[in-house]
Amino acid sequence: MAKDDTEETAEEPIVAVKADKKGTLQMPESAPKEVIPGLEGLETVKTEPAAKQDFSQIAFQQSIHKQVDSIVFGVLSPKFIKKMASAKIVTPELYDSEGYPVDGGLMDLRLGVIDPGLRCKTCGSRLKECIGHFGYIELARPIVHLKFIRVILTVLRGTCKECGRILIPKEKIAKSKELLDRIDKEEGLDSRRKAVHAIIEKLKTTAKCPHCNAKQEKIVIEKPTSFMEGERRLSPIEVRTRLEKVPDEDCEIFGLNTKSARPEWMILTVLAIPPVTMRPSITLETGERSEDDLTHKLGDVVRINQRLFENINAGAPEIIIEDLWDLLQYHVTTFFDNEVEQLPPARHRSGQPLKTLTERIKSKEGRIRHNLAGKRTNFCARTVISPDPRISINEVGVPKIMAMKLTIPEVVQPWNTEYLKKFIQRGPHIYPGANYVIRPDGRKKRITDETKEAAIEELQPGYVVERHLMDGDIAIFNRQPSLHRMSMMCHRVKVLPGRTLRLNPAVCAPYNADFDGDEMNLHIPQTEESRAEAEILMDVQTQIISPRYGLSIIGCIQDAISGNYLLTKNITKMPRHQAISLLISIGVTEFSRLPNKEEVSGNEVFATLLPEDFNFVGETKAHEPIVIKNGKITQGYMDEVTLGGEGSGFLLRNIHQRYGSQATIDILHKMFKLGAEVLMMTGFSSVISDTDLPQIAKEQVTTILDEAEAEVNALVASFNSGNIDAFPGRSRKETLELKILEVLNRTRNKAGAVVKENLNKSTDTAIMVASGARGNNLQLAQMAALVGQQALRGQRIHNGFRGRTLSCFKPGDLSPEAHGFIRSSFKKGLSPVEFFYGSITGRDSLMDTALRTPKSGYLYRRLANAMQDLKVEYDNTVRDATGKIVQFMYGEDGLDVSRTENGKIDVQRIIDTTE
């Protein structure tokens, strides 16, 4: 009910107000109807005339946003740097003796504020309001910009040293340009630069300018930042004058857009000083100030620059000036990038390298991937998870202490004022209370025992109350790694005692969660739009069918499967009262569908959960038929194939197809509880004696093993006597190995068959396997009969000493036990040698996992990055962000995999069900 109250909700009003002052956001208070350029169709506009004036005001404030339309990239020209700068930096000093920022220093107040209480001298706003302003320094001598040296080299090489024209004869320029534009389009800028060079090389104009006949010399880069013409070093001044001479139209041949990047701008004459807000200093506990790495670096730049100025003015000898110039070049270079080859990185006094601009941006921990492409949020929680089969599948159990920290903003309306006042009355410490009240002007006020009364007094429509999380609120639940969309689903909150997040075990599969200490995250959406979206698109019931293969991923697991298996297969008779108490315990109170008999069967109890007109034909795990007619099981029983998740669960898939997701989740929840209740009623435990084999079977296994050993020995013998012919494409030794491996694998299968035959099928362990709840026949055989051959990369184990695996064997011994065959069972216990073999394969698989995870992670990242902007358009085509068509029809038939049955429309089913 509370949800309806808040049709317009706060969208971070605090930010919005601030943004206005920045000038990035306009809040048309008087004329909200005005269309802001660049906002075509993107503004949210209130469609209804407001009921009361107060609301409309708030609504407009919160709902009109400016949107960035495009971002233009370019190189800053010296002129532009000066124009955008608000301060010229002339001194390396930061603070005066009183600790106040020095004017013209790097912490100049005109560059923004980082101290609380101070105001920015440029824009007049306070800390966190002022985004900072650039400054600049005039460099005493030009400096090469490290990041542009490759471009500078291309331009220098491709143009005449005298007249600055490109080294392509006039008549060929147009044609070359055409060619280069094509290369640029197809292969990118790098190839274009190479191609320019290739053309000039081909024209043989490298030595002589076709325009002014001036002789040319070869220019190379002397790493990291100098240019050499023949033997002579070109000073940045010379480079700059040459670049200045290059006409605009020739620059374009190199792929440069002269509006955004003239080549001479790449030799710096002024350096932009980033605002202090991006390099804030930290005050240590001792009161000492610790400056940011960038400030340190800039300090070096300014200091050397000043010294260079002084020396030039004083007419110092050329060598000293050259040295200082090189030093300045070093500092500017490391300011841009401190990981340049051939340059020692600038270090702190502690020896740790400084993190300068490039290091700030790049890599996973850099600005782009860490702060821009990934965000941090408030209103989230994380803790250990534990199972609770009693809460619904789309619920999440939230500890009360969490619920008292996580809040939901509710807008005060005339009809809920009283309701919300009660929350404030209870305050932050009594659940369910409220933590904050937000005034219409965006000011946030904490509710304490003292401010409670005032807040209640003050409360009126338009205010927002941040109340505690309550049952039924919407939350997004997530477990990392979030590999698919089912890793983040929308759950309803259920506030519970305890300190863990609780989830129904049926949703373990989509999250890939278990309870061995896993932690999960909870997010509380704060706006009405996000809540609506979470509910409609992310709810657990909307995610039952995996979009990967079109089959259900949520289903019964473990006890729920074995319980229902027992119920429908083994319990043929139970007193009616017991059936009723069973149904009551799972929350079913409608018994009219239970046959009115003294004794009912398990099938009949189970069938009460099914819809009355449900028909189903299927197969069990053991390929026995199941028939359900009009909601009654007429043949067969339930097991993993019908009830499970992760690619099986065909009964559930059918229910989903016919009755929709909500019904499925309800039925599934009941089935789940029923299974668990049945096991509680009958008892269910796995015992060691479950895997006891009768004497005859034991002997059989021994015979099989002995036979296999004899067979292998025979093979080895015939190999030694040269009687084995090699398979085509293999050596004789390899052939022998393959044959042995085949024999030994056959042995395990034979023993497995014996175990399957002889093991008591009514034990609980066997039931788990038979129902598909846990384990398989192979594991059963490994426990009861023998573990079998340990294979390493598809072969027997050969590693170890020369010619043998362990020193207790003779060199060249090819017998099974010398190469990883384990003839003991897990129950009997492994001999030391056998245990060692087991450890070998164990370690190998551990390594495999450890190596695979990062590899597949990287593959996934690449795929996601390459394909994230593909979407289905309104004309059913699949296009990328630029509108380029990738597919004319998604998947050639336009079907959504998560709405199909295993990727198909089941025509056969439709034919069968149509009369």
Binding site: V72, K147, N257, N865, L870, K884, E892, I910, I911
Partner: protein, 377 residues
């Protein structure tokens, strides 16, 4: 096609119509088609659906379950092929050189019946000269190598001394090849032969010169499959194999996608990507819907050639600077963008995430435009 079905042509995919026609008794055809159409319409994708991301998830998520470095051992007598995750990576990278190229050569009748299949296979295999040489004897006096050929083996392979000589001439640029009686004499061209070492080196080189077969095919293996004999090869050369007259050109394939691209074109390359990924997922027992793989293959091939899912391939094609920068080598992309004066129009996903704006996908796609009702003052 049936009259009732005719009506739905163009509305339902042909595959579905065919299936209905095949399975459905004529009596209820009309009803069935109507019902299928209804279900089909309900199962259509919604406009705005982020199908690309779903496809990436569907392939990336089971990637963690795939095994690393497993070699395929189907049956005893088949060859090793890279499978599992490394193979998937290889395919999606769009690599030019794959680690285990392999061909399946189908043969025309009567060759596929098994008679003389070994000889047919051997004819394809690239064989070095060393296999046909009885003895390399080093003549220290004249500083030359006398090569005595094995006539018998040459005969079975259909080789003559002339062919071997020609191939050796081609393969050994720095030596003179002469025929003397039935032997071949190799002599170094350069005058100042420093010692025996150079002769030894020449001998080793001569051993490795290929005299017969198709370039690149290092191993052949005739295998019986579904009642006919086919040849499986290690190494691949589709172009040359298709030229052979006993090869069934329609069914013969290779696992080298780049080769298929060069010989048969993009459409074939796309199908090949699909098949190769399918092979891996099937071998690993993973269930990935065909549509996801299709979309990946289509993204790789949309530009007309096979582009890998790497920073040099598909990702470099993106129009947005920020999207490219958020993937790999951000500095390079930003610097290049500055030089060209690129404009980022923010029409894909990550840029908008960076700017805290709505993403033009899914529910962020539609814009709502309303005319505001003027307030009555």
């Amino acid at each position: 096609m049936h009259k009732e079905l005719e009506e739905y042509k163009g509305k339902l995919p042909d595959k579905l119509l065919e299936e209905i026609e095949e399975k459905c008794p004529a009596g209820k055809l009309k009803k069935v088609v109507a019902k299928v159409y209804e279900e089909y319409e309900q199962a259509r994708v919604d406009p705005g659906e982020a199908v690309g991301l779903v496809a990436a998830e569907s392939i990336g998520e089971p990637g963690t379950q795939m095994t690393l470095n497993t070699f395929h051992f189907a049956g005893v007598a088949e060859m090793n092929v890279t499978m599992g995750l490394p193979r998937i990576i290889e395919i999606l990278d769009g690599r030019k050189e794959i680690s285990t190229p392999m061909m399946e050569i189908y043969l025309k009748k009567p060759y596929n019946q098994g008679d003389g299949i070994k000889d047919v296979a051997e004819a394809i295999r690239q064989t070095p000269a060393g296999e046909f040489v009885e003895e390399f004897s080093i003549n220290v006096v004249d500083m030359q190598i006398d090569v005595r050929l094995n006539k018998e083996r040459m005969k079975t392979a259909g080789l003559t001394t002339a062919i071997v000589t020609k191939q050796l001439e081609k393969g050994l640029r720095d030596a003179n090849v002469k025929v003397k009686d039935d032997d071949i004499i190799l002599k170094l061209k350069s005058k100042d032969v420093k010692g025996l070492n150079e002769l030894y080196a020449l001998r080793e080189k001569a051993k490795g010169v290929y005299v017969k077969g198709i370039k690149g095919i290092t191993q052949v293996l005739p295998v019986k499959r579904k009642g006919e004999f086919i040849i499986i090869t290690a190494g691949s050369n589709l172009e040359k194999v298709l030229e052979l007259d006993f090869v069934d050109t329609e069914r013969t394939t290779t696992n080298d996608i780049n080769e298929i691209l060069n010989v048969l074109g993009v459409e074939a390359a796309r199908t090949s990507i699909l098949n190769e990924i399918d092979k891996v997922t099937e071998a690993q027992g993973l269930n990935i819907d065909h549509r996801h793989i299709m979309l990946v293959a289509d993204t790789m091939c949309a530009s007309g050639c096979v582009k890998g899912i790497t920073r040099y391939g598909v990702v470099s094609e993106k129009s947005s600077v920020l999207a490219r920068a958020s993937f790999e080598t951000p500095i390079k992309h930003i610097v290049d963008a500055a030089l060209v004066g690129e404009v980022d129009y923010l029409n894909s996903v990550v840029e908008n995430v960076m700017l805290n704006q709505y993403v033009p996908i899914g529910t962020g796609l539609p814009g709502l435009v309303t005319r505001q009702i003027k307030k009555k003052e």
